[in-house]
């Protein structure tokens, strides 16, 4: 589904700022991946580059989605293909209700994918159903996108949006950070509900604890702009116990 090949990325405005230095990663349908790694290692950058953020420039390598390069596509075109990013820092859009944003988003994507668009009433039903899934109050539909939301509510709202838009490939960038234990379970439950044979989820996380609820098929460690090690769930446990030091040395030898 997604193949990231030898991806090198720098900051568009300052090409000397190299962030990703040769990332290789393959994600197949039906898989759940976790990416861990120290602060500033490039996890968010990788997610944003896949989603098409214009602040970054790909200097080498490629990103293939279903076999085709998406490097030339705008962020919205990538969204139309079914790529979704739950932001580490969700953005506030005052005056625009969650419902309005999502209906427009849903219908734009549906139109691009040749699926049926929903009228306001149908959409309302669809959105309410997804609200239940992540146990959010209905008033969230009418509230301005993320404006005045608590940290945890913003994260939950990202999952809600994912639930409404039903993407094929979702990057969840630290969606588990800042959630209380009940919210964590709810969000994990939401992720499990939404992942299936046809779609894939990439969890960017610092904590092993969400992996108690969402079973990853693969765990990767990103260090200094590269995937330093990949493994299964045991790798996450080891990281939690031992930190990243043992990998950094290994990585520098590579």
């Amino acid at each position: 589904m997604l193949e990231i090949k030898d991806l090198h990325v720098c900051v568009e405005e300052d090409p000397s700022e190299k962030i990703l230095k040769g990332v290789n990663l393959t994600i197949n349908e039906g898989e759940i991946h976790a990416i861990m790694g120290p602060n500033g290692s490039g996890k968010s950058t990788l997610s944003k580059v896949v989603a098409g953020h214009e602040a970054y420039e790909v200097t080498q390598g490629n990103i293939l989605y279903n076999g085709e390069s998406i490097l030339e596509l705008e962020a919205d075109e990538r969204a139309h293909l079914g790529i979704f990013l739950a932001f580490q820092y969700p953005v506030e859009v005052p005056g625009v209700t969650n419902k309005n944003l999502l209906r427009q988003a849903y219908n734009t994507i549906a139109e691009e994918q040749g699926r049926e668009e929903l009228d306001p009433l149908q959409f309302e039903d669809h959105a309410r159903e997804q609200l239940k899934l992540i146990d959010m109050k209905e008033e969230f539909l009418e509230r301005s996108v993320n404006a005045g939301f608590s940290g945890g509510e913003k994260k939950r709202n990202e999952i809600f949006q994912m639930a409404v838009l039903q993407p094929k490939l979702a990057f969840l960038d630290e969606t588990d950070s800042g959630l209380d234990i009940d919210a964590l379970k709810i969000v994990a439950n939401g992720i499990n509900e939404l992942s299936g044979e046809d779609n894939a989820v990439v969890l960017v996380t610092h904590y092993q604890r969400i992996l108690d609820y969402v079973q990853p098929d693969h765990v990767h460690v990103m260090i200094d702009g590269k995937i330093a090690k990949s493994g299964d769930k045991d790798l996450a446990i080891k990281l939690e116990e031992e930190g990243y030091d043992w990998l950094s040395e290994g990585a520098s030898v590579l």
Partner: protein, 482 residues
């Protein structure tokens, strides 16, 4: 020949109303002097007192200087090179009695503007006065309104048919010599609308005037007068568009509103005059004086404006809160893009006791434009318990535009409460990326952000026009990022 849209495609194309209607005009000399003013009055067959009103205004205007305090820069109009009166040729030289007498090309123009005048196509529930250059072409639903006692017609007709009312009120809110452009207007004014709502009447329909400047040589100097007697209510909306010409045209209007006891006037504007091209060539100079007088106790006047057009905008719809407990409101969205400049705001003059005013201003600047809010809240010594609440928010799109606020507060009454809040924000890359990630293209993303920002104002518009205004904001800012 039908309308040409050649210019429209040349200049960006996003301005949908830039076409020209090819009609024949009566000859009228350019320039301004006493003879010209007499000629305007003669052609309109006006009573002597109107001519005197004009001539007195002209005397005052000659003594006045064009103001230079607004935060805008432009080359001063050449007043001798403007045609102050522009009327189309009529079949038998008379004003059309029915739609059959109206030039089909003008009807087609209004249809194209989305305001069909023909009976079977008329907008439901909205009476329209269509003003083309200096003349009112037609007013719909007049009879139906008359049944309710409401008079809705052009000001010229009102001068002929209801002189006593016009005489009493015209110039009573905006005096002849109020300011440079108001004095000019008072000297040469032509058709705007006249509305009179008698006591205890809720106007049964939405009233609206659609202003169209077509003639390249002329300016538009319309005058509008709305009077609401005791315990009456009216909602009125004006829309404005003009063709795209390389040269600037002057629009200097005067609007006067009078609300008597317990009366309420809601006045909304969707201003979409041609704003010039990306180099700042052409576009309307929109220099307008709008003022409402809450003359009676418990009266209310509310201005809502969506200002998207014009090369230069200079207007301050104001309310004099004379009656006790009267209420003044000003809701404004002003969008500037490319080289547009706007200096707009309001004046709330609190005279009566327990008067209340609210100001919500949302300025949006993009391109290389400059957008200023200028507002005065004045509390007179008598105005015990007066209250004002103001919010002035600015939004910047891109790095090359400017936003400014000039709030003035003069309070001479210690019991008054005046609250002012202001904010400036920038539409960020992150905000746009967020919405794009959700599937919207860049233009839709900006449109959504801007509509969210302006929501408090847009929701004040009459329902029928809210959707239109929403779209307009989006179109206006297309391509303003990246």
């Amino acid at each position: 020949m039908s309308e040409t849209e050649a210019l429209e495609s040349m200049v960006g194309g996003e301005y949908k109303y830039g076409f020209t209607t090819d009609v024949e005009y009566e000859d009228f000399p350019n320039g301004i002097n006493e003879d010209i003013i007499r000629e305007i009055s003669r052609r309109k067959d006006e009573p002597e007192w109107v001519l005197e009103f004009r001539l007195e205004a002209f005397e005052k205007w000659k003594q006045m200087e064009e103001p230079d305090w607004p935060n805008v820069e432009y080359e001063k109009p050449d007043f001798d090179n403007i045609q102050y009166y522009s009327s189309t040729k009529k079949k038998d030289g008379k004003k059309p009695e029915s739609l059959d007498d109206v030039d089909p090309q003008i009807l087609e123009t209004y249809e194209k503007l989305g305001i069909p005048l023909q009976e079977q196509k008329q907008l439901q529930g909205i009476a329209v006065d269509a003003v083309f250059d200096s003349e009112s072409i037609f007013t719909t639903f007049k009879e139906k309104l008359a049944e309710a006692g409401v008079i809705f017609c052009s000001i010229s007709e009102a001068i002929q048919d209801h002189p006593e009312i016009v005489k009493e009120y015209m110039g009573s809110v905006v005096p002849k010599g109020d300011n440079f452009y108001a004095a000019l207007n008072s000297a040469v004014f032509s058709d705007g609308s006249f509305v009179y709502v008698p006591e205890d009447t809720v106007c049964p329909m939405e009233l609206s005037t659609y202003f169209r400047i077509n003639n390249m040589q002329s300016g538009q100097f319309e005058r509008t007068l709305i009077i609401c007697e005791d315990n009456s209510h009216v909602s009125y909306l004006e829309g404005c568009t003009a063709p795209q010409y390389q040269q600037n045209q002057l629009h200097a209007a005067v609007v006067e509103l009078v609300a008597l006891e317990d009366a309420e006037i809601k006045y909304s504007t969707i201003q979409n005059w041609y704003s010039g091209d990306e180099k700042g060539q052409g576009g309307i100079f929109n220099f307008v004086t709008k003022r409402g007088h809450c003359r009676g106790d418990n009266s209310k006047i509310s201005w809502t404006q969506v200002e998207t057009g014009s090369a230069i905008t200079w207007k301050y719809p104001s309310v004099i809160l004379a009656g006790d407990n009267s209420v003044g409101e000003f809701y404004s969205v002003a969008v500037t893009n490319q080289r547009q400049q706007a200096d707009t705001g309001t004046k709330m003059i609190h005279v009566g006791k327990n008067t209340k005013s609210t100001i919500i201003s949302k300025g949006i600047s993009a391109g290389e434009s400059n957008n200023s809010y200028r507002g005065l809240v004045k509390i007179s010594p008598r105005a015990d318990g007066a209250q004002n609440y103001s919010v002035c928010d600015s939004m910047l799109i891109g790095q090359t535009c400017g936003a400014h606020t000039f709030p003035y507060i003069e309070s001479a009454n210690p019991t008054a409460k005046v609250e002012h809040e202001a904010s400036t924000s920038r539409v960020g890359e992150e905000q746009i990326f967020y919405l794009q990630q959700r599937g919207m293209d860049e233009d839709d993303a900006i449109s959504l952000i801007v509509n969210g920002f302006a929501k408090e104002v847009l929701q004040e518009l009459p329902m029928e026009f809210a959707v239109e205004a929403d779209k307009l904001l989006g179109i206006k800012l297309e391509g303003s990022v990246g």
